[in-house]
Homo-oligomer: 576 residues x 2
């Protein structure tokens, strides 16, 4: 039987419970959102005792299906004020699945004077350990210390100083296959929530434990998975070779690469910070090749960036990080961007929110566009907890409000991902309508992407029917998130149909395609209902500047009609 | 014919137009909200070119009816993100009425490099004057300079450094009967909007002009007004004698006086900062007696606070200022509070928002409760435009978010007025449902207050039917706001019935009581619809701590059911 570990931070008690039957078909984001919706009052203060942090593995965690070990972390977000889920690769979900743990619920708060804790998860259940000696530790130092203390093979979730300071841009770091804390549940301030619970780290010790998952038809599950793995390896060669930074060149070409605080969609320095440049740089410096962020991924899109002495800097220099900390800040120096990425990882900050916030600070003349040294200094200031540190560390919206900036690229208080919605209108609809705020992962529209209707084509530059496409993709992503699967496996009906077969091979419930779609839709409904009760509308307004400032080079504004979007969302999801 | 002055800050052109017939029955807040609703896109950035600042006199401005010279100032608020109206006494409305000006609309924005402007309103219309030499001027210095330049008898609206810095807590100062800029359209950041238009001051020069208002039945109007004036003088003797600070003692007794950031409803130092203490202090120091904030007010509730040398400090040491900057900050020193009040007036800040923000900063341990010196230093820092200055100067919500504070007394981003909603539940409903955010003026519930049904009694400590009472009062206040009348004349049906007679005596439209009620309701509808289009719900959630932390001494939480409030508002106003 799958377990839930419920950790009461006030009493210090961690109890193991059988997964209640009502949660049997829920995994990943479906489970985090359902538990939050059931247990957290919508009006609770995100940093208060009534908020909870829920960590859940997907329905296929630990299985042979590729890329199925993403781990969902959910809470009411201090950044968006709504329900949030942020998922992360790394070793966590895989190890939790070996321990038979479907979810961990962190609730209540200790008194401040009791200091920090570590939660250790192992075969005998969960145990809280006093850990104030790690106060102020950055993530890499903490990972070293904890591996030394608990064994090299442990998996880790951790917060850095930013999480301890309860900054809204604080994320939760997960250790990757090599034990480096560079994978991040970055978005929405989940690190601040853990910080408010005074939980510095979660140690997962699965040493010597075998994966004993049940399958109704293990052979079928394995054979489908193997075939799918082969296909992925073939079709994702470029992603493996160049990593996600190859999208920098694409976004630049399509004219929606955020540049100098979303003031233009093309960056003259794009070729210096894209996938080709990064590959070349790593090759010259004799860095390693592509690797995976989690066990069982044949794509291996992660690349380890090394410095001029061929020393490890980071393995998480991804597209979004480069788009936001690079072009969005007018910075075309990969070494500097890698240093900023590493700094964010060490301090425990979301690189995307930091890029958006620094871009806004640049717009406010606090530093100049392109000033990499200034940006690095700003990041280094954050653990010092100065007023300026707390401004930037609380994200782009606050930074904009503090400095009276009119061009602030946020939705629901969250900095936008690396796609300008004026030249990618579909993702604009995702930003305004996702219960999560301006996440690309919530329904990533890219040119050529299709919804459930295979015959229908969409043009990212035109407003027509983008609300249909976005909602379809939001539903598809929700399904993948429930399974714990990276959306690089394919955001399309073909992939979803394979998931139906897999689900039946594992759980034997004879579900059909429509059941999966219903699951995805119901996840969105649960999340939107939480947000409505928290006073957040289903459809947010796009910041005005996107509607009135044409974006070069296409000279388009964001002109998706908000009424159409409201109607689409309300009708399809049955929300008022 | 009443005029509208439309000022285009981009072209520098100010044109006089006849009041369009569609606005003939609108005055004050009814007119500011209607024009904003007609002309400002709901999604516009409050500090951007598409926002407008509308200044309007009430329907009875310049008339013999007492207390009818309040001036409404409206815009989309940088603080609440919704539609806003803040009204102020002083000489403005009276002088505008003499110039036959019903409203002034400030629109567009000049380029930053052109610097500041003054708008001069006189018999020949409106004229923009370049005024960069006044950059950084505090309000009292500016008032002196402008009176020297344009004549002693001018009326003034001005912003201080806070408005120039476009801080969300910046208000607009109006000169009083003595030419002191201590009357404030304080709430909602109207000063920041004027700052974004680079308009430093509005000079109203009515020298030698006679009031020539038309009346269908002047004699009737005058005789009703005279009788009403006599009644006011008799019934408001205490208000005249002690001023609004007498409410400090009352609120303290009722247990809803905000104390140390809304952590308790009684302040041990209340007797040192209330109306009795203030009267005694002024008497000892041989200060002057009560005076009016505007022409034609028989109540004269303003008192001039003088220092130990009997020198003028301020004439606006009102209840709300003392409650927020005094008890809410744990400060029991009237001299210190008066100094803070004067500082806010000089810098151009809303005293209420400052009190709420400093209270939150105290909760965040940035300074201690009761630290008057620290609070004064913080206020003095604001014109220096440091990060900390911009945090405090942008109000309580931002301050709370920056420092991760869980007890932040705001609704719609605006700091609460001086009534804790746990021991005054009716005003809590006003806070959560007024289109304006947490204003007391939007529907001021106090013990014994009644709605339209005279037979119905309400208990401020009980949640029952507070949504009915609040909405009734919101409608009543809206009517008074449309007339430009101070609500001290009486927030009740008896007074409204007199207004019906007055309206008919002046305009001859034979309106009935229900027409007035309909006007008030429609004002709320117009405002809520604007907010809905801006993405703001009709009913906001009360911050969680009011729902879970019982307030001493009554040990009550805020337990008005949000669903009931939503139903009441939706049904009565026809809003979804």
């Amino acid at each position: 039987m799958q377990q839930i570990i419920r950790v009461d931070m006030l009493s210090g008690n961690a109890s193991s419970l059988d997964l209640p039957s009502k949660y049997l078909n829920y995994g990943g984001r479906a489970l985090t959102s359902k538990i939050l919706s059931d247990e957290v009052p919508a009006n609770s203060n995100p940093l208060g005792k009534n908020n909870k942090c829920v960590i859940a593995t997907g329905l296929f965690a630990g299985s042979p299906f590729p890329c199925s070990n993403r781990c969902s972390i959910g809470a009411k977000s201090p950044l968006t004020g709504g329900i949030k889920e942020s998922n992360v690769g790394g070793m966590v979900a895989f190890k939790l699945s070996k321990l038979n743990i479907q979810a961990v619920i962190i609730e209540e708060q200790p008194s401040e004077s009791t200091g920090l804790y570590i939660l250790k998860l192992e075969e005998t259940g969960g145990h809280l350990i006093s850990a104030s000696e790690y106060s102020g530790y950055t993530t890499y130092s903490l990972a070293s210390a904890l591996k030394q203390r608990f064994g090299k093979k442990i998996g880790l979730l951790m917060i850095g100083p930013a999480g301890e300071l309860q900054l809204s841009a604080a994320g939760i770091a997960a250790t990757d296959l090599h034990g480096n804390p560079c994978d991040y549940a970055g978005r929405g301030g989940m690190g601040a929530v853990l910080g408010s619970k005074q939980l510095k780290a979660i140690v997962i010790d699965d040493l010597g434990i075998q994966n004993v998952s049940d399958y109704v038809d293990r052979q079928k599950f394995t054979s489908i998975s193997k075939a799918f793995t082969r296909k992925l390896k073939e079709t994702k060669k470029d992603l493996h070779k160049f990593g996600t930074p190859i999208e920098i060149e694409m976004s630049n070409e399509f004219g929606y690469l955020p540049t100098r605080n979303f003031s233009t969609g093309c960056f003259e320095g794009a070729s210096k910070i894209g996938g080709e440049a990064m590959r070349q740089r790593i090759k010259e410096r004799k860095g390693p090749g592509g690797t995976s962020c989690m066990p069982g991924c044949p794509i291996s899109c992660k690349h380890t960036y090394v410095d001029s002495q061929s020393q490890y800097v980071t393995s998480s220099l991804e597209y979004e990080t480069i788009a936001l900390l690079g072009s969005n800040c007018g910075i075309d120096d990969l070494d500097a961007i890698a240093e900023m990425d590493r700094l964010c990882d060490e301090i425990g900050l979301d690189t995307m929110e930091m890029g958006a916030a620094i871009g806004v600070a640049m717009e406010a003349d606090q530093l100049s566009f392109g000033d990499a040294k200034g940006a690095i200094a700003l990041l280094k200031e954050i653990p010092k907890n100065t007023p300026m540190a707390r401004i930037i560390g609380n994200g782009a919206e606050i930074t904009g409000k503090i400095f009276g900036v009119k061009r602030v690229p946020v939705i629901k208080g969250q900095g936008m991902a690396g796609y300008d919605p004026r030249a990618n209108k579909g993702i604009g609809v995702t930003y305004t309508t996702s219960p999560m705020g301006a996440d690309h992962t919530a329904g990533c529209v890219t040119p050529g992407r299709k919804g459930f209707d295979h015959n229908k084509e969409y043009d990212v530059l035109k407003p027509d029917c983008q609300e249909e496409l976005s909602l379809d993709l939001q539903v598809m992503v929700a399904i993948l998130d429930a399974m714990g699967i990276c959306f690089f496996v394919g955001l399309d009906t073909t992939t979803l149909k394979i998931l139906v077969e897999l689900h039946n091979a594992k759980y034997g419930q004879n579900i059909i395609f429509d059941n999966l779609v219903e699951l995805g839709e119901q996840m969105l409904v649960v999340e939107h209902k939480f947000n409505l009760a928290a006073g957040k509308p289903v459809v947010e307004r796009m910041p005005e500047f996107f509607e009135i400032e044409p974006l070069p080079p296409h000279k388009t504004v964001y002109d998706v009609r908000s009424e159409l979007v409201i109607t689409e969302m309300s009708n399809k999801l049955g929300l008022k």
